[in-house]
């Protein structure tokens, strides 16, 4: 299993969804990211693990353009997107979720997902009301069902529970035919049942959609990823299959605080 995965990774060179070359991000004297080199094949599902402050979210921000990297180049499906503004990267099929839900409190659930679908289509400036038969409205309805929020279709986002807001957060990232998604701790604050639902949603994604998932819950992370990258103090320091990472003594030392006893 491990070997075949590694072989797949080698074969898929040239069809990378995401390539990072020497990506760095400094905040004044603070080095949040340093010399990150990463190759992720199209359709690959990768987990990024690391303790708090390891630079995982900063890595996401550099890829999406929320914060521009201080150095290095980023390529998305072969295209250099390092200098593109965030919305241009999104229009190329990149999506993300946020560690702390970033939603539209004044809109309904359906309208939020509709806007997420409309964001990558034309007619973003339309002064007409969308009809129920509007292609983006139909897409929004189907995503609503996929994340099990159909009962809250017309509910104001501000009144949703934390778990529902996390589901909506994922729904927004699934909208508009994504090619690659960055999930930033999607399971944070979810109940065990909601975590099971989340794993099911991630595993049910179409095979061509790759993703990186940041997740502190190893149980979730290792069940939804094929390969794991470990980060520490702004560096990538180890990569391997979930089994290799789980068994690695150095990883246990840094990430789990050493073996107990």
């Amino acid at each position: 299993m491990t070997e075949s995965l590694a072989a797949n990774r080698l074969q898929s060179t040239g069809a990378y969804a995401l390539e990072l070359d020497g990506v760095a991000r400094h905040f004044g004297a603070l080095v949040a990211l340093s010399g990150i080199n990463m190759r992720i094949a199209a359709g690959e599902r990768r987990a990024v693990l690391g303790s708090n402050g390891a630079g995982k979210t900063t890595l996401f921000n550099a890829v999406t353009g929320d914060f521009m990297p201080t150095a290095g180049r980023i390529r998305f499906f072969g295209e250099d997107i390092t200098d593109l503004p965030p919305h241009e990267r999104i229009r190329r099929g990149l999506r993300r979720t946020y560690q702390i839900s970033q939603l539209f409190k004044g809109l309904s659930v359906l309208d939020s997902i509709f806007l997420a679908c409309r964001g990558v289509s034309r007619r973003r400036f339309s002064l007409l009301r969308p009809a129920a038969s509007d292609v983006n409205m139909v897409q929004a309805e189907s995503i609503l069902n996929a994340v099990h929020l159909e009962a809250y279709r017309d509910t104001l986002v501000a009144t949703l529970s934390h778990g529902q807001q996390r589901q909506l957060e994922i729904a927004l990232a699934l909208a508009g035919a994504p090619r690659f998604i960055l999930f930033d701790e999607p399971a944070a604050g979810l109940s065990p049942t909601e975590r099971r639902d989340l794993v099911a949603i991630l595993n049910a994604l179409p095979k061509h959609i790759g993703y990186i998932i940041i997740e502190h819950d190893l149980d979730v992370a290792l069940r939804v990823s094929e390969y794991v990258s470990m980060m520490h103090n702004g560096h990538l320091f180890k990569e391997g299959t979930p089994q290799e990472i789980e068994a690695d003594p150095e990883v246990q030392e840094i990430y789990l605080g050493g073996k107990h006893g």
Binding site: T64, D66, P85, P86, H87, I90, R91, R95, R96, Y98, Q102, L103, F104, K105, G106, L107, D111, S112, F114, L115, A116, R118, G119, V120, R123, R124, F125, S126, L127, L128, R129, P130, L172, A175, G176
Partner: protein, 342 residues
């Protein structure tokens, strides 16, 4: 089967009336019939003037309520269209006056106002919250002083006078009743446009940008472009109000676009409420009534104190303005109506 179709049709028709709502029907009828009972003074000085300032407040409500951008430059935008009408059409100031007919001058004036508004927006969307207020105040003040000191275009302190509303279709539109209906027609158009537009794709994007611009970028939206487009639309409404204002006054001078007027527009929007496009019109009516009659109640020396106190009371009792006040009273009224009569 045929029964089902008939029922469906009935449902559609009922929905259309329901969509309009009893409130709109009653208010619309009252506004159309108002000239039957109102004197010329109440038609223009109260009715027309309130509608003009209601439109100005509406242009601010569009930016602030849906877009979260509080502007103090709406009177400046209206002023640009007012000056354009004076300069492109006829006036008696012997400086500039191209003598264009109204049907050419009005579209030019409104487009100029919309473009100016988009420019002001483009400059100010880099800021947020109180800084947007400050930068638009700076733009309004700069425009005021520029108009006052520039004689070649703006004719300095005295501005332009002798501007007449047009006469067409056999109607003199400066007469009280036609002018009131002109103001009402444009107000209803602007109001209906904003109300409809609030649920359009663009209306929703604007509200979403107000709630979370960062997320909108992460969904593929060019946030700055959407904000500037909102300023352009608000500029159309403010520009139309500017045309009515210059026809109403018959003149335009730096005093028309001064800081006092800029603050009046803000007060109108805040007093009325920013949640619904009807708010600015309610606010405008209250402010115009106060400004007209406070002097009769407490005399020339104290009328500003009375106006200030009334505004303070409204904002103190209901931070959402008159709309919020209505929102609090309405449930109580509903409960009253449920009680058995005497």
């Amino acid at each position: 089967m045929s029964l089902a179709i008939a029922t469906n049709n009935a449902a559609t028709q009922r929905n259309w009336l329901e969509k309009l709502g009893p409130g709109h029907i009653i208010l619309g009828t009252a506004l159309v019939l108002y000239p039957l009972v109102a004197s010329d003074f109440f038609l223009t000085q109260i009715g027309g003037y309130s509608l003009i300032f209601g439109m100005l407040g509406l242009s601010l409500m569009l930016l602030a309520g849906y877009g979260g951008m509080v502007s103090l430059a709406q009177i400046t935008v209206a002023g640009i269209s007012a000056y354009a009408i004076a300069i492109l059409g006829n006036n008696n100031s012997n400086v500039l006056g191209f003598g264009w007919p109204w049907w050419l001058a009005v579209p030019f004036a409104v487009v100029a106002a919309a473009l100016a508004s988009a420019l002001i927006g483009w400059i100010s969307v880099r800021t947020e919250g109180i800084y947007t207020i400050m930068i638009t105040l700076a733009i309004a003040t700069a425009t005021y002083y520029f108009a006052q000191q520039n004689y070649a275009i703006f004719n300095g302190h005295s501005g332009y006078a002798g501007i007449r509303a047009p006469v067409f279709w056999g109607v003199n539109w400066r007469d009280a009743r036609p002018f009131y209906y002109l103001c009402l027609g444009l107000s209803v158009l602007s109001y209906a446009g904003v109300l409809y537009g609030s649920r359009s794709t663009f209306g929703m994007t604007l509200q979403a940008i107000r709630d979370n611009p960062r997320r909108m970028r992460a969904l593929g939206y060019h946030v700055t472009a959407h904000k500037v487009f909102a300023w352009l639309l608000a500029g159309v409404i403010a520009g139309l109000a500017g045309v009515l204002l210059v026809w109403f006054n018959g003149r335009v001078s730096p005093g028309t676009i001064g800081v006092d007027a800029a603050i009046d527009v803000l007060i109108i929007a805040v007093i009325g409420g920013l949640r619904h496009p009807i708010g600015p019109f309610l606010g405008a009516l209250v402010v115009v009534l106060m400004q007209t009659f406070a002097i009769d109640i407490v005399g020339a020396e104290r009328f500003n104190t009375l106006i200030g106190l009334v505004f303070l009371v409204i904002v103190f009792v209901s931070p959402d303005g008159i709309l919020g006040l209505w929102g609090r009273i309405k449930p109580h009224l509903a409960q009253e109506s449920l009680r058995p009569g005497p």
